[in-house]
């Protein structure tokens, strides 16, 4: 198999190949760890590692921009939110991961089917020699895709692919881009609607309850303020004795 890095005009050769293998092995290893580790937080950290190494793979594909965005968006923002939710809800217990045999078999079959479909449809056409960008790439045969895009990216000449990506995203692919944005917005609105509690007014009501409670407390203090304070002192003095009995 010839790697893109070995034939791309600006690539250096062996260093890129080494980097590719290092990141590829880390990416696969951490991906396996994500689904095999019992601890949810450990799995999430492995997913971070996976995203970082995929960022490294983008680097070997000469796309520094995608690489940094991968780290920034997926490795940074999204995974921090993931971990935040895991820790806030305290779902880092492994009893959530019990699955019976039937579910497991179905999951494995579904996963294999999905992986096969992705490999066949998206990766397959790019595995021939014609897909490798280089000065002497052969013409694409049936079912093969020729190298495209890299030359335009170089022509833009900002060295990172940012300008090229931005232009194509906001001109050629505006419609899918907006559609994806709409999808995310709908998901956000849906989450807000689902999470909203109808039974109480936000903020003000809470404050009002506290206010009323505080007023009650103060009223109580007015009646027997001195004895209340004495009781508190008593409790405070009792503390060490209690622990001694406990120990």
């Amino acid at each position: 198999m010839t790697l893109l890095a070995q034939v791309a005009p600006t690539a250096g050769g062996t260093a890129e190949v080494v980097v590719f293998w290092v990141f590829a092995v880390i990416a696969l290893g951490s991906a396996i760890a994500v689904i095999s580790l019992r601890n949810v937080v450990h799995g999430a950290v492995m997913l971070v590692l996976n995203f970082l190494s995929i960022g490294g793979l983008f680097l070997t594909l000469e796309s520094a921009f995608l690489s940094v965005i991968q780290v920034l968006v997926y490795g940074g923002a999204i995974m921090v939110l993931f971990l935040f939710v895991i820790m806030l809800l305290g779902v880092d217990r492994d009893d959530l991961l019990q699955a019976d045999l039937r579910t497991r078999v179905l999951a494995i079959a579904g996963g294999a089917l999905l992986a096969g479909a992705v490999l066949f449809a998206f990766v397959g056409p790019y595995t021939s020699e014609a897909s490798v960008c280089g000065p002497d790439a052969p013409a694409p045969g049936p079912g093969e895709v020729a190298c495209a895009g890299l030359a335009e990216a170089y022509d833009e000449d900002d060295g990172a692919g940012a300008r090229f990506l931005g232009r194509s995203l906001f001109t050629t692919y505006t419609y899918p881009f907006e559609l994806a944005a709409l999808l995310l917005t709908v998901a956000t609105i849906g989450a807000v609607i689902l999470a909203r509690r109808r039974d109480l007014e936000p903020e003000d009501e809470d404050l009002a309850d506290l206010d009323a409670a505080a007023a009650d407390d103060l009223d109580g203090d007015d009646l027997d303020g001195a004895s209340g304070a004495a009781a508190e002192r008593h409790v405070a003095g009792d503390g060490p004795g209690t622990t001694e009995r406990g120990g």
Binding site: H42, F65, V68, A160, D211
Partner: protein
């Protein structure tokens, strides 16, 4: 790096930048203790070295030899890795920051920067987003309530302020038209529309500058935004369970991020190492950019120290309000405004000088709107607080007195 460059050049660049920031951090720790000491009417460390300047070194040695206790309940691989993440992310961030201009040494000409990446600005943001994992995972892996609280606070805080900071940086690179740090520095090198006025981006992009400065204090987790380690509420926050060298790494990462954030704001908004060289001969002229960069960065570091000495810690919801309701809208509006000026001037509508003035004008308007809005918010909050602290609350005939509208609704 061209293949013709001998190996010692990148090695020297890396070592110089590394040593520069490490030394800066050590001096910051000393300066902070001295300045805060002065602000609190005490002396601060003054025994080791002239004025106590070597105190940090001795403290480092002490931490190195202290017993490093690992509590038995911690989640070990992550507990060990967490402090490393912060230090590594901090040191990697400085790779794209030029600390000086061109230097000629033994016939080789190079710049005092480790790697001038095409995506340098995004590199800074990406690494600062990875920095969160340090505090966050430390808090979780300690397996203890207060550290967990600190970790959760820090993650929410950093995510919120990262957005505002990212948008502020976005207006910088939209204005400059490049993601490369050296281009951004070069674009600020000349003088502004008035002769003698620096061409710094802090002037046309003033709202973005303000957003970035506020955001960087939050990102560095420094007072008044140090809720992740709030010692009054959370013992030590995320690093409660850490001791010895691993605690030292957290401390190094925190102080380092102060220096790094100052260096970034200087690079993006205050022209980085650019400044007058006073016609010095070429042999020593390279010192001047380093001097200017150090001076500007030191000014921001001093600002951080003053903040710590002067301001109390904010409440958590105030922090979130500031981030989401003030900084992010301002930064968003400012990206739009900047993009509009850039588009108009690209179409040949206005000259660069006019563009600067328009940007300054728009900045004044945005800041003015912001201040009026903030004053109204403050007034509303004050009204709440007044209602809360109402001295008449226990007055038997309090209902007869005029009350804040807020309390009317809850009268039983």
């Amino acid at each position: 790096m061209e293949p013709s460059t001998p190996l010692w050049v990148p090695v020297l660049q890396t070592l110089v930048v590394f040593a520069y920031f490490l030394l800066f951090t050590a001096l910051l720790i000393w300066a902070e203790r001295r300045v805060v000491g002065r602000m609190q009417s005490r002396i601060g460390p003054n025994r080791i070295g002239p004025g106590g300047v070597l105190q940090t070194l001795i403290d480092g040695v002490k931490m190195f030899f202290k017993e490093d206790v690992t509590p038995s309940m911690v989640n070990n691989p992550i507990y060990t890795v967490a402090p490393l993440v912060g230090v590594i992310a901090g040191f990697l961030t400085v790779a794209v920051i030029p600390i000086g201009g061109e230097v000629t040494l033994f016939g080789e000409e190079f710049t005092l920067v480790v790697a001038d990446l095409h995506v340098g600005v995004l590199w800074v943001l990406a690494l600062s987003s990875l920095h969160v994992y340090s505090t966050f995972l430390a808090g979780w892996a300690s397996n203890s309530p207060y550290p967990l609280m600190g970790g959760i606070r820090s993650s929410a805080q950093m995510i919120s302020y990262e957005i505002a900071q990212g948008l502020a940086v976005a207006s910088v690179f939209v204005y400059a038209g490049s993601l490369r740090v050296s281009d951004i520095v070069a674009a600020q090198a000349g003088s502004g529309p008035i002769a003698g006025m620096p061409g710094w981006y802090a002037i046309p992009l003033f709202p973005a500058f303000v957003v970035f400065v506020v955001g960087m204090v939050a990102e560095a987790g420094r007072p008044p935004f140090d809720l992740a380690e709030a010692e009054g509420e959370l013992v030590g926050g995320f690093h409660t369970e850490y001791s010895g060298l691993r605690f030292g790494m957290f401390m190094l990462a925190e102080f380092m991020s102060v220096v790094v954030m100052s260096a970034i704001v200087v690079t993006l908004f205050l022209g980085g190492p650019s400044g007058p060289t006073f016609g010095l001969p070429d042999a020593v002229a390279w010192v001047m950019p380093v001097f200017w960069f150090t001076l500007k960065t030191a000014a921001f570091v001093f600002f951080f120290i003053l903040l710590r000495g002067a301001l109390p810690r904010t409440r958590y919801h105030r922090l979130m309000d500031l981030g989401w309701k003030v900084l992010i809208p301002v930064a968003l509006v400012w990206v739009l405004v900047t993009a509009a000026w850039v588009l108009v001037s690209e179409a040949g509508g206005i000259s660069a000088a006019t563009r600067t003035w328009l940007a300054v004008g728009a900045g004044v308007i945005v800041i003015a709107l912001l201040l009026t809005g903030e004053r109204q918010t403050a007034r509303a909050t004050d009204a709440d607080v007044d209602a809360w602290d109402d001295p008449d609350r226990d007055d038997p005939d309090r209902d007869a007195k005029p009350r804040a509208p807020h309390d009317e609704e809850v009268a039983p």
